[in-house]
């Protein structure tokens, strides 16, 4: 009897290890995460408008239907990127997601404090490789360090009422992401 109790205890412990390892490994094996869903719709390093969610069809679950959305699927392998996004009348935000869909940086129009949001995106080694003077002259530039080489930049513009959606989409049409060179 005691022996079976011991085996059960071993099973419970092993079960705990199985639980923790599956939770940790799952993000690496996911085939339907946000990046994978956006991949067929978005050319790399180009700002692309994403169709808004409808009851019949949505690119991603839980999208806010009050927002116009544009996505830049970036790859920093060939050097840093530059993002410019004009501010719409109501509310505009820029969010940076890594390859696994984790939001590592987000900023809104008021925090950016200008009519256009301008950001430089680079990996940590690329930032380290920047000449020092360039860093000084770039004091008014906002530099974001990406934890992964690939990821997503998502620009969102609020349409305060449904009739204003074309205006929000027009504001996003001016958003660009391109190579910094």
């Amino acid at each position: 009897m005691t022996r079976w109790l011991l085996w059960t205890l071993a099973g419970l412990l092993l079960g705990g290890i199985v639980h923790l390892s599956t939770i940790l490994v799952l993000p690496r094996t996911a085939t339907q995460d946000a990046y994978a869903r956006l991949e067929p719709l978005t050319p790399v390093n180009t700002m692309t408008p994403i169709p808004g969610p409808t009851p019949a069809k949505a690119v991603l679950p839980f999208m806010d239907p009050a927002f116009a959305v544009a996505v830049c699927r970036y790859d920093l392998a060939n050097g840093p990127m530059k993002l410019t996004a004009p501010v719409s009348q109501a509310y505009t935000s820029v969010t940076f997601y890594n390859r696994r869909g984790i939001a590592y940086y987000g900023i809104n129009d008021r925090a950016a404090g200008r009519r256009t949001i301008e950001l430089d995106l680079m990996t940590t080694p690329q930032h380290d490789a920047m000449p020092e003077e360039a860093d000084v002259t770039a004091a008014d530039r906002l530099i974001i360090e990406s934890p992964t080489t690939t990821g997503l930049i998502v620009v969102r513009a609020l349409s305060p009422e449904p009739a204003l959606m074309p205006m929000a989409q027009a504001a996003l049409a001016g958003a660009r992401c391109r190579s910094a060179q």
């Binding site: 022996r3 079976w4 085996w7 059960t8 071993a10 099973g11 419970l12 412990l13 092993l14 079960g15 705990g16 290890i17 199985v18 639980h19 599956t22 939770i23 940790l24 799952l26 993000p27 996911a30 339907q32 995460d33 946000a34 994978a36 869903r37 969610p53 409808t54 009851p55 019949a56 949505a58 991603l60 679950p61 839980f62 806010d64 239907p65 009050a66 109501a90 509310y91 935000s93 969010t95 940076f96 997601y97 696994r100 869909g101 984790i102 939001a103 590592y104 940086y105 987000g106 900023i107 809104n108 008021r110 925090a111 934890p147 997503l152 969102r156 609020l158 349409s159 305060p160 009422e161």
Partner: protein, 193 residues
């Protein structure tokens, strides 16, 4: 033989417990750092690089892009203030005030995060669209049939969830209590069709 049987038993038990608990955690929205106010739950830390492993696995499974903390915070409700799951065939009233934010949006989804079709083609309200009382509070009626005032149609679905997102708000990782973030009450009215 005895040893083989016991080892097999241990492994089967481990697999059942390990995989079962993982499945349960992912389907029941488990995680750390939840901010619960009334019936509303938010995970401000899930919008940062400091996201916990459970929320991380949840994102990978669902494909959701979370609201970043520098952008805003999203509160989810699945039940009314009496603890009953939302029923789209009944009338539910969301009323009160919200924490300070430049804008907020309230959206109705099915449990998988899809919008729900209805004759009005309305899936939510932004803070600008709401008709408010004199003191700035509001009342939204979520019902299958047309109601006066702020009517959010359910399309008659059995189950739905509500997401209340605040943009440019002070609510975040440091928020602890209702006093800092007054959230609207959710009441079922008992009238079902």
């Amino acid at each position: 033989m005895r040893l083989l049987l016991a080892t097999l038993y241990t492994f089967i038990l481990a697999a059942a417990i390990g995989l079962g608990s993982t499945w349960f955690a992912l389907t029941h929205d488990a995680g750390f750092g939840a901010l619960r106010i009334g019936s509303w739950t938010a995970r401000p830390r899930a919008g940062t690089g400091g996201i916990d492993p459970y929320a991380r696995a949840g994102l990978a499974r669902s494909g959701v892009l979370p609201v970043a903390l520098g952008d805003g915070v999203a509160f989810v409700a699945r039940r009314d203030d009496q603890g009953r799951l939302f029923d789209g065939r009944c009338d539910t009233i969301v009323s009160g005030t919200t924490p300070a934010a430049r804008y907020f949006t309230l959206t109705l989804y099915d449990p998988d995060g899809r919008l729900v079709a209805n004759s009005l083609n309305r899936q939510g309200f932004t803070s600008e669209e709401l008709v408010r009382n004199q003191d700035g509070s509001f009342e939204i009626t979520i019902a299958p049939r047309a109601r006066p005032g702020n009517w959010l149609p359910t399309g008659g679905v059995e189950r739905y969830i509500l997401v209340l997102r605040f943009y440019d708000t002070s609510v975040g990782v440091a928020t602890r209590a209702e006093r800092e973030a007054p959230m609207p009450a959710i009441k079922s009215m008992g009238a079902c069709s």
